[in-house]
Symmetry: C2
Subunit: 375 residues, 2 copies
């Protein structure tokens, strides 16, 4: 594991070398099972617990992390044996994928293994709800990122701006993609970055705001790269933001709606998510800062007439956020409490009430110039 | 209207000329209201009815169409006057957008007009639910496409393959975008097509299947362009498929899951949708044909073990589809009835149970070679 762990720290990941490492990790996993059998022990492996009790917020690093608690999965245990067998099938299939240079969606993996044992009417997996958690078990157990197992979830997101990305031999100049931009795929491990000229990356929650800023030529006028997450950011998008920040040392600024949902989307980009706490270190970008929408924007820019009333579900979400350790600083508590007290939320697109150009010509440049960013 | 209508038939739309036409249409709309006032009549305009009673399926053209029934919207009618005033505000804002060469999301339009009348506490629009239907009223009333009013909805979809698209001065070679592809924006009216080399466009429902075929180099090996709709196709995607088919005379082949949802997504690409029946002619592509997944695929390719049981909601949807006039042909009735009888559906990704490569190396090329396509 040490070797694998070290390579994660490297700025530029050598994908081919990492593939070899991952195959080795999977081989070692198989060997350890064989050793159990040779010793007449029950075949078994350890899986880190992913329950809330084993997730903590690392304040120094500003990242959600998985703790040290582990459970053991034993073949000779009626409650474990099916999952044990399923886990080995997934491990073997992943080794095949990585060795052959193939990737598969987690749904394809499910179908590939659904009826994997010949001469039986028994399905290996009844539905994808059985295979998905075991994939995460394998990731956490082996300390290998899902993308490194050549498995992928859905993709979502667009990038535009002054960066040349090498993707499978093509050199893609993201500043020459008109108003369309590059689709961010679910796996971006193979991306190599070339010729970057940008002061920061602006990560934007809504596709419509991204379009607005493209129309206003914001990236050209402000020398920035823009990424649209289109709601909660998919893994590919989070990994892309992370890699641009780490490898190219470019600051990340996030721009979401002024509501608990937008603030949570921000926190996932910054600190990682609870469901993927084991991967925060590779998906989270603690250096990210937040530009808006904030509750103070409402007075500052005279947006009182274009707020929206909070619904019960919004209020409930605010209370939840106020409990999360990573919102426990004075700036965020103030925002969330103000939101709760006023009973309103404010959307990015509400800035259009000033003028369509306002967000690009005044709001964003002014806030960046004055350093009015939340931690 | 005649001039506008004619220009729609042209292969290559001259965007600048069309913008001028649309401004003229909006001017004429305003003039007609002024004439009412000059004549001491109640200011009014006609809006085609969009209820089901006024939507019919044009079997010859294979398109959903809006009928001739219209209603009148009168200013001097308590039930109409607010909507009348709101419609004029939207018309004026659209004229401003088109004249200035700006586009706006329908949410931005709502915020721009939410509090449009000075010196009053009254909001012009309380929520977007008020402005959205009036936009459609205006589109249908003036026979102008929403995109031509410079208004846009959400974007979704990716394109990859041997086509060079000119977008805002950039020439984008979609065969040189690695495994990422070009994000299809919500408005593609400004796209110009150059250097196209493709036997057909394969339109794919799921992002994961699109990724699979990208990984298998399907576009290169089969000389085709691929478009991913990622579920129900957004307007930009539908319009792009339509324009490639019409202007470049390239056949369209669609590939969805074998379930009522996939079949409906196909029918929308082909015949248009009920909600947008007034735009079928510009968004629908009647020449589209369907490659799979079909119910007969299950036996043909031995996929019995990887079907999924129909849920009640699936069964209900099948019954609905069996009522729609555009599914009234023997091929589609057979598919839907077989699905209903067997009680199963089959996903695109279930083909992975054969092998990851199967879909690219056998399933698709074989079906296309043998012309096994549904109408």
């Amino acid at each position: 594991m040490t070797q694998a762990k070290e390579s994660r720290g490297n700025a530029v990941v050598n994908k081919e070398a990492r593939d070899k490492e991952v195959v080795k990790v999977l081989d070692d996993f198989g060997e350890s099972i064989l050793k159990n059998i040779d010793k007449n022990e029950s075949p078994k492996f350890k899986v880190p617990l992913r329950s809330l009790s084993n997730i903590h917020f690392d304040r120094a690093a500003n990242l959600l992390r998985l703790g040290d608690k582990v459970s053991s999965r034993n073949f000779i245990n009626m409650a474990h044996s099916k999952k044990f067998m399923q886990s080995l099938l997934i491990g073997a299939k992943c080794k095949e994928l990585v060795s052959r240079g193939k990737t598969a969606s987690i749904r394809e993996l499910y179908y590939q293994l659904k009826h994997a044992i010949a001469n039986t009417k028994e399905n290996t997996f009844e539905d994808q709800g059985e295979s998905d958690p075991l994939i995460v078990d394998l990731e956490t157990s082996l300390k290998v990122l899902r993308e490194e197992l050549h498995l992928k979830a859905d993709d979502k997101g667009t990038i535009i701006g002054n960066i040349v990305i090498e993707d499978s031999g093509d050199f893609i100049d993201c500043s020459k993609l008109g108003r369309s931009g590059l689709s961010v795929p679910s796996i971006i491990e193979h991306y190599k970055f070339h010729k970057v000229k940008a002061d920061y990356v602006l990560v934007i929650e809504t596709a419509a705001m991204f379009d607005r800023l493209v129309e206003e030529k914001f990236p050209q006028d402000n020398n920035c790269i823009m990424v649209s997450t289109k709601g909660q950011a998919a893994r590919g998008c989070r990994r892309l933001v992370h890699r641009i920040n780490r490898e190219l040392k470019i600051p990340i600024i996030m721009f979401t709606d002024g509501d608990p949902w937008g603030y949570y989307i921000y926190s996932v980009i910054k600190a990682g998510s609870m469901a993927l706490a084991h991967e925060s270190e590779r998906l989270g970008t603690p250096e990210t800062r937040f530009i808006g929408m904030t509750m103070t924007d409402i007075e500052e820019y005279g947006l009182q007439k274009v707020t929206e009333k909070l619904k019960d579900v919004d209020k409930k979400r605010i209370s939840e956020l106020l409990q999360y350790p990573w919102f426990q600083n004075k700036e965020w508590k103030k925002e969330l409490q103000m939101m709760s007290e006023r009973g309103v939320r404010i959307e990015q697109q509400a800035l259009a009430s000033k003028s369509l150009e306002f967000v690009a010509q005044e709001y964003l440049p002014e806030k960046i110039k004055k350093g009015k960013l939340l931690p």
